[in-house]
Amino acid sequence: MPTVAKDGMRGLAVFISDIRNCKSKEAETKRINKELANIRSKFKGDKTLDGYHKKKYVCKLLFIFLLGHDVDFGHIEAVNLLSSNKYTEKQIGYLFISVLLNDGNDLVNLIIQNIKNDLSSRNPIHVNLALHCIANVGTREMAEAFFNEIPKLLISKEDIDQVKQSAALCMLRLYRAAPDLLPSGDWQNRVVHLLNDSHLGVVTAASSLIHALAEGNPDALSRIVTSTYQDLQDYTYYFVPAPWLSCKLLRLLQLFPPPSEQARLIECLEVILNKAQEPPKSKKIQHSNAKNSVLLEAINLIIHLDNDAVCPLLVRATNQLGQFLNHRETNLRYLALESLAQLAQCDFSREAVKKHLDTVIQALKTERDVSVRQRAVDLLYAMCDRSNAERIVQEMLAYLEAADYSIREEMVLKTAILSEKYATDYNWYVDVILQLIRVAGDYVSEEVWHRVIQVVTNREDIQGYAAKTCFDALQQPACHENMVRVGGYILGEFGNLIAGDQRSAPLVQFQLLQTRFHLCSSTTRSLILSAYIKMINLFPEIKTNIEDVLRSDVLQKNSDIELQQRALEYFKLSAISASNTEMLATVLEEMPPFPERESSILAKLKKKKPAAVKVIESPTNGHGDDKAKSLPVAKMSNDPPMPAAAPQQSSQDLLVDIFATPNTAAPAAPAAAEPAYGLTNMDDPFGINSSPAAPPTAAAAPSEPPPLIDSHCQKFFLKNSGVLFEDENLQIGIKMEFRERLGRVQLFYGNKSSSVDISNFKANVESIEGLKISTHQEAPNTITVGSQFQHIINIESMKDFDNFPVLNISGLYGGKYLALRIAVPLYMTKFAATATMDANQFFQRWRGLEKPDQQSQSVFKTASIDREAGMFH
C-alpha cells in the first residue's frame, strides 16, 4: 500500500482501492453512484460536518470527476473549505474549485471574496494558494477582480520570494486572459528590477512575465538591467548552471533590437559556444540536453542579431550544428536540421550551411523518423541556390516517390518553386514539372501546372522541347490526368513544332489525345476540345477526323453543358472556316505571352507554411535570360494587364492629340502628371521580367562612367512604351509620342524598394548630333519608397541621326551610389510621318530616285517565321 501521509484520508484511499478493484465498467459505475448518494446525504444531513470530513468528501468528489463522471454538487462545501484555516482543507477547496469551476456559477462572488481574504492574509502559504487559484482559473472575471491588487504583492519589500514568484506568474495569466485590463502604473518598471533579485526562482518567474509584457509593448520596457548571478548552488542542474533561466533570458533578449554596446553580449555568446565544444562533464543525457538547450537558444539570439559583429559567431554556430547532424541522438539531429534551416537564411552563414549538403541528403534518405526527414526537406529548400539546385531538386524528386501522403503537396510546391527559380536551362524545368506530375500527379495543384504552361508560352526556345516531352509522356500507358491537361494544352498550342516528324504527325497527336479523351473528367475534356479546334487550324489535313469527333452525339448531346457548348461552337467554327479561312486563323492565333504577376505557387505555399516562404521572398538577381520573349510592361495605367499588342495601340491614338494634354488623350493613358502610380512588377520574385545586365553600383562615386545599356533598344523599334530598365531597386518606364519631327518622351522612375528612398537623384538626356533635346519637366530629386515620378523631355529631330541619346542617371540608394547610362531608343523611323498620295504621285517620286547613291541593297537572314508574322501583320 503506497504511503499515506499522517493526515491520510483513509476513507479516500479505501474508496480509490474499491474503484480499482472493480472488474467491470458497470461495477465501477455502481460503486461510484453508491458513494455519490452517500456524500449527498452527508452534505444534506443535519449534523454540520467538520473540516476533516468535508475535505474527505470533497476530495472523493474530485476523484470521481477526474475519472470522467459528472459531478453536479459539492461546490458549496468546497467554497466553505476555503474559509478554513487549515492548509489541507484550503488546498482541497481551492483544487476542487479550479478543476470544477463553471462560468456563471452563483458562487463566483463568494469565491472571490474568499480569495480576497487569503490574498491579504499574513500567512504566505495562504496567499500562495489564493494566487495559484487565480492563475489556474484565469478567467476574465478573475482579471477584473484581482488584476489591480496583485502588483502590490509583486513589488512590496516585505513579501516573501515564494509569493513574488506566484504573483508574477499570476499577473502573466491574467494579462493573457485580459490584456486590455492591464493596470497602469509604475509597477512595470519595478518588475524589471526583479530580474536582479537574488532568488533565482523569482528571476525565472519575473522573466516570463516581462517577456509577455515586452512582446505586447516593446517600447515600454526598453531598460532591461543585466543581472548578476549569485549563489548558483541550488540552481545547477547536472553541472549546468541555471539552464532554464539562461534560456529564458536569452529568449527575452530576442525581443529587442541589438544593443548599441554589443561587446559584452558577444562575449557571453562566445562563452556559450566555447562551453558547447568542451568535453562533457557528465555522461548523462540530462547534462547534454541542458547544455544544448542553452546553446540552441543562444544560436537563436545570434540569428536574431544578424549583423556584422556576430558574423564569426554565425559561422561557428553553423559548424557546431553541423557536428550535431551526425550525432547519435535523434533529438539533436532534428534540432540541428531545424536551426540550420534558419541559419541558411542569414547572409553570413549561408555558405557554411551549404557545405553540409551531402550530410543533409544522407539524412533525407536514412532517417527513420518522418519528422526528421521533413526538417531535412525544409533545410534543403532553405539552402538551395543556383549552385546546388539541380542536385537538390533531384533528391527531392527521389524522396517524393516514397514520401508520406500528408507532405506530398507541400513538397510538390517546393520542388516546383525551386526548379523554376534556379533553372538555368528551362528544358530541365519542364522535365522536372512533368516528372512531378508523373510521380505525384494527385498532389500537383492547379497553380503548378498552370505555371509550367505560362513559362513555356513565354519562352520560345523550349516550346518545341515541351511539345516533344509531352507527346512522349502521353504515350506512356499510365498517364495522370494532370499530364493529359498539360499535354493537351501544349500540343494544341505548339504541336506544329513537332508535326514534321513522322512519329508525331498531326494525326498521331490527335489520336493520342483521343484515346485519353473518355478517361478524363469533363474539365479536362473541355480543355482537349479547345486543343482540337486549334489543331483544326494548324493541320487542315486532319480537319475531317476532328470534325467527326466534334460532330458526334456523345459530345453534342452531352449532359455537361460546357462540353456540349464547346463541341457545337467549335464544330460550327470549323464548318464556317471552309469559306472564311481568315477567321479561324485569327481566332486561334497563338496565345500571347502571359503578363508577370506574383507567383501563385508562392502564395499557395505561404498559406500552407507561412514560415517557410520567408526564404524565397528576398529578391535575388533575376537571371535575365535573353531568350525570354519581352514580357509586357509594368502597368502604367490602372487597366488589367494586357498582352503585348495593346500598349502599341494606345500610343498611336495619342499621336492625334499629342501636345494638347499629353496625359489624358487615350483612355488607357495614365492620370495627369502626378507621382506615385501603383507600381506593379514589384513582386517579381523570379525576376523573369528583369531586363538583362544590372548596372554596376559602387559604394562611392565611380571613377569611370558605367557602361552604356542599350540591348533593350531593339524591342522599342516598333513599340513606343514599355519598361526601359529595371533592376532590384529602380524601374524606369518610358512612353514616347511623336508628331512629324517633334517627339516627347516621358520617363517614369519607380522605386521598387519598400524601405529605402533614392535620393540626390539626377537624370538628364543630352542632345546628340541631329537631335535637339530639352527638358519639359525635371526629374525628381528624391524618389520615395514605392512611388513613381515622371520626367519629361522634348525632342526635335533636326536631321538624320545615328546614335541613341543617352539617359544619364545618378543617385544615392541608401548609401550606395547609383549610376546608369541608358540608351533612349529613338529611331529615325519614329519621326517619320505619313504622306498620302495616289499611284501617280508615288511613281513620279519613285522614278525620281535615280542617282546611284540613292540606291542600296542588303541581304539578311530572318530571325524566325513566327517573329516575322508578329511584326509585320
Partner: protein, 142 residues
C-alpha cells in the same frame, strides 16, 4: 508557454491533466485521446518532440507513464524536455521512488507539486532543493 500537461499510461488512462488554456470538457477529452494516439505509436528511434495541431508535444516515457507537455511551436524543445525530467526527479524524491500508484492515491498532492514547479504555463521554480523543501513543509501541515 506550456498549454497543458498530461501524464498518461500506456492504456490511455490519465493520471494527471493540468490545463493552462481554457478548453471545455469535450475538447479536453478529444485532446487527451489525440495525444495518446500520437504518442503511443512512437518508439526510441523517434524524436521526443512531435508536431500536434498548431503546437507541439514534448514528451518522455518513464516506465509505464508518458509525461507530455504540449507547448508552443517556437518553444525551446530541450528546455522543456529537461523541465519534464526535473519534475519527475522531484516527484521521485518526494514519494521515495515514485510509481504510478503513488500518483493515483495522492492525486491531490501531485497537483500541489505541479503548482510549485509550474504556474500559468511557465516555470515557477526549477531548483529541486527549494521545491522539495517547500513541498515537504506544505505536506507536513494540518
Amino acid at each position: 508557454m506550456i498549454r497543458f500537461i498530461l501524464i498518461q499510461n500506456r492504456a490511455g488512462k490519465t493520471r494527471l491533466a493540468k490545463w493552462y488554456i481554457h478548453y471545455d470538457e469535450t475538447e479536453k477529452q478529444k485532446l487527451i485521446e489525440d495525444v495518446h494516439a500520437l504518442i503511443t505509436v512512437r518508439d526510441a528511434k523517434h524524436t521526443n518532440f512531435v508536431e500536434f495541431r498548431d503546437f507541439k508535444v514534448v514528451y518522455r516515457r518513464y516506465a509505464g507513464l508518458f509525461f507530455c507537455f504540449c507547448v508552443d511551436v517556437d518553444d525551446n524543445n530541450l528546455a522543456h524536455l529537461e523541465g519534464i525530467h526535473n519534475f519527475v526527479e522531484v516527484l521521485n524524491e518526494y514519494f521515495h521512488n515514485v510509481c504510478e500508484l503513488d500518483l493515483v492515491f495522492n492525486f491531490h498532492k501531485v497537483y500541489s507539486v505541479v503548482d510549485e514547479a509550474f504556474l500559468a504555463g511557465e516555470l515557477r521554480e526549477t531548483s529541486q532543493q527549494k521545491l522539495l523543501k517547500e513541498i515537504n513543509h506544505l505536506h507536513s501541515l494540518e
